[in-house]
Amino acid sequence: MESREIFWNISQIGWLYALTFIAFLLLFYGCYDHVKFWGTGRKTGGGPPLRLRWKSFLSLALFQRGILKRAYPGIMHLFIFWGIIVLFIGTVLLAIEHDFLKPIFSYSFIRGNFYKVYSFFLDLFGLLAVIGTVMMLMRKYLFPEYRGVRGRPDTLAVWSLFFVLVTGFLVESARIRGTGAEEPFSPIGYVLSALLPRLFDAESLQLFHEVLWWIHLVLALILIAMIPYTKLFHIIAGSFLTLSDPKVKKGILSPVFSEPLRLEPDRLTRLSRLQLLSLAACTQCGRCEEVCPVVSDQSLLSPRRVMDGLRRELQRSNNHLGFLQNGAFLAGFWECLACRLCEEECPISLKVAEKIVDVRRHQVMALSQFPAELRSVFRNVETFGDPFGEGKYAREDWIQGEAVKRRLRNRNGCLVWIGCQSAFHERNKKVAWAFTKLLDVLSIDYFLLGKEEVCCGDLARRTGNEYLFRDSVLKNIDTFRRYGVQKIVTLCPHCFHVMKEEYPHWGGHYEVLHYTELMAEVIQQGKVPFSKSLDKKTVYHDSCYLGRYHDLYREPRSVLNHVLMDGLMEMEKNRGSSVCCGAGGGNFWTRGNTGERINATRLEEVCDKGAQIICTSCPYCLVMFEEAIRNQERQGLVAMDLAELLDLVKPSGTEK
């Protein structure tokens, strides 16, 4: 058959247009409200190139890469998403032809073979959509711990969708039966239509068809109108978000001040447009909450609740963070480790951790409210230049030999940035020493700044003290300029991250490497006389800043596999899903038990593998693990830094 009669058996078509008009009116009105709200957001200039935006849109929105990280919900959502899109396109094509092309140009295209293909695909995707919806309903009722569909609006939406789809098929089958059409290429409708004669006679069939048709229409229009008022809005917000805010570089925070030192009036009290958009795009799926290491009985923090709470409160206050004066919202805020597991797990990579840090900025800078422990940390960095409060004078204490002392400030080769942890903390001094010895053995030319180093500032930035951060950055950039620094190798991933990604904003452009990158390079070039001689069972812990922030997974592993006799053991949660050691986000300094609790869990994982060495490449991780090992009195397990490990396997004959 040529095509189908669109309004077969349907009279009073005027209502269709009227109701559609109303539905779309409600849709646009609701969306306008949202857009107006986004308008209250701060403008943040610039943005990534178009190419990246499209890439992000395709990947996350169209191909659903993020959601598909988990099989069941991924497929479920994929079916629904594509099902609805195809059905929608189908309807739109129909409408274009019927209301526009036919009357004006007397042109129609939904006929013949095109029609067959068209109808087949609509049926197929309709079926997929039904399967998806049924999967969603099953998940909601059989596994209530999954939070995706919760509350009346959500439930109403899903059931409406289900019935829209079902009635759609029923209507199709009734039409096929009623018009006696032969449409085996509309398989579902065709099959169903065969069942109908048993239930209805010709007249009641027509009634059945007409009633269902209107039900179908009304439910569909309800769904459309509902979009801006419920979680369904993520359809629009999410798509826009992937277009506007692609994940270009991870874990970078936007600066607070404009230069010369100025604070825009709203900077600390209002969120930006993109941030508001991302709050609207959050579907409260709860994946972030599932993977967040802090979430537990002992903590009030929940990244999901942060997103939800922020959205609600900001809508209520018209995008003003003043509501933060009421402390209740902030429960658990300072326990966030800034590890970004939430951002990685999020299906559309919403920047959850970034929002928590933004709130911290407001707290610290606008209200001067922060945990008491941070007070002395801030003071120490301001006065002494390091969070320990030891001072410039003690920064070179870790150096034991004359050879290394000669490297101080002699401007040859690349700069090795020691950082505060490795310069002052007793445990980490050994790592600094091991690494510099290594460089000497490998004849790599380098120099140290020693006393000229000042805290890199990561600690200040992650705890929201942007003023202190800026101060530290400017001081270090000035020092780098005076010493003509071009290439920096850091021991600490935190220093690495800020110098690489965040210093450029203030004009500090350098080639920055973490030392594991340097080591990997060196091993690749075959310049290393190490042999596979270490026969301990070793496990490697990916630190948050090297791993999730920078995807540096391969480098440390290539180094370790080069020296370990039996190769490296992997923990179950490794690479991107590696769990933070518990020291991030300022938690090394703030008192909460959070850090230790998280660390304990992570340590269990290590011990389950029967490892003898847990190898890290971050000074914070090292200290945390050592403390946990000591507290839990684990025998036979030792925490070591990668540099120390390499130091162990140095070929004999080199001076100790």
């Binding site: 604070l263 800078m365 007070r375 002494f384 001072g391 410039k392 004078y393 003023y467």
Partner: protein, 295 residues
Amino acid sequence: MIKIIVCLKVVNQLCSERGFDAVKRTIDPDCIVKMVNPADEYALEMAVHLKEREEAEVIALSIAPEDDEKLLRFCFAMGADRAYRIWEDGFDRLNGPAIAYLLSLAIRRLQGNLVLCGRRSADANGNEVGGYLAEFLGFPVVSGVTSIEAFEGRDKVICRRRIERKGWDLIETAIPAVLRVDRGEREPRYPNIFSILAWSEREIHLFNQVSLEANSLYLEECNSLTRVLEWIRPKPKKVFTPKSNLPPEERIKLVLSGGMDKKKAEFIRGETREIVSQMVDLLAKQKCFKPEGEG
């Protein structure tokens, strides 16, 4: 409206005794850290806190060169309303009496009702300027104030002074007065960014000898009352004198080590009773065995 004047000093604090070269009698500049005297910060916090409860104006006053302004501004951002700086070439060598003289001229000029200052500075450890100020100005002085309760009418202020481990004295003093602060009950607040930014631009008014109408002869006289000749190493801590069960060489080694260099604990081993009796000796020597309630 009460004018509270807070005197602040930027101190050059020695981080560690290692920075002092006992032979050359010099201090390594790398071992010096500049900060606002901690006691003065407590004083400023006290003033700002009082301003929140009573009608008052907080004026910060400091003898400091321009280079120190950044540090001071951050401190002023705690809540000072106005700030004044006294400086002239040669003012880096002022002693306690000279400092107090200059401050008193400024205070009189500014017509301060209540003067708050730290009791002693972390570097010079003068422990005197507050007292000098009181005499120069003719004000009563209360030392060791830990918090200010309230004004009593227009001419009195009530404050608290903590007596270690026992409680607080409630003191009433006529104003104008000088209050010397060691450690207040309230920790100095961390200034918020708006305040910091405002203070990064606000003018700090300048005073010098001429604008203060200082008597330069008298200033000279004050400045010559005391003079620091040089720095020397402190006497070694009283070393733990071990019981005679150690061989003489060991005992001599202990006495000679003096305790200034890296600590090396000398060990007591043995029977519990023996250990305890040595401990009691030690405690008595350190004069820290003092039960509660001693008058």
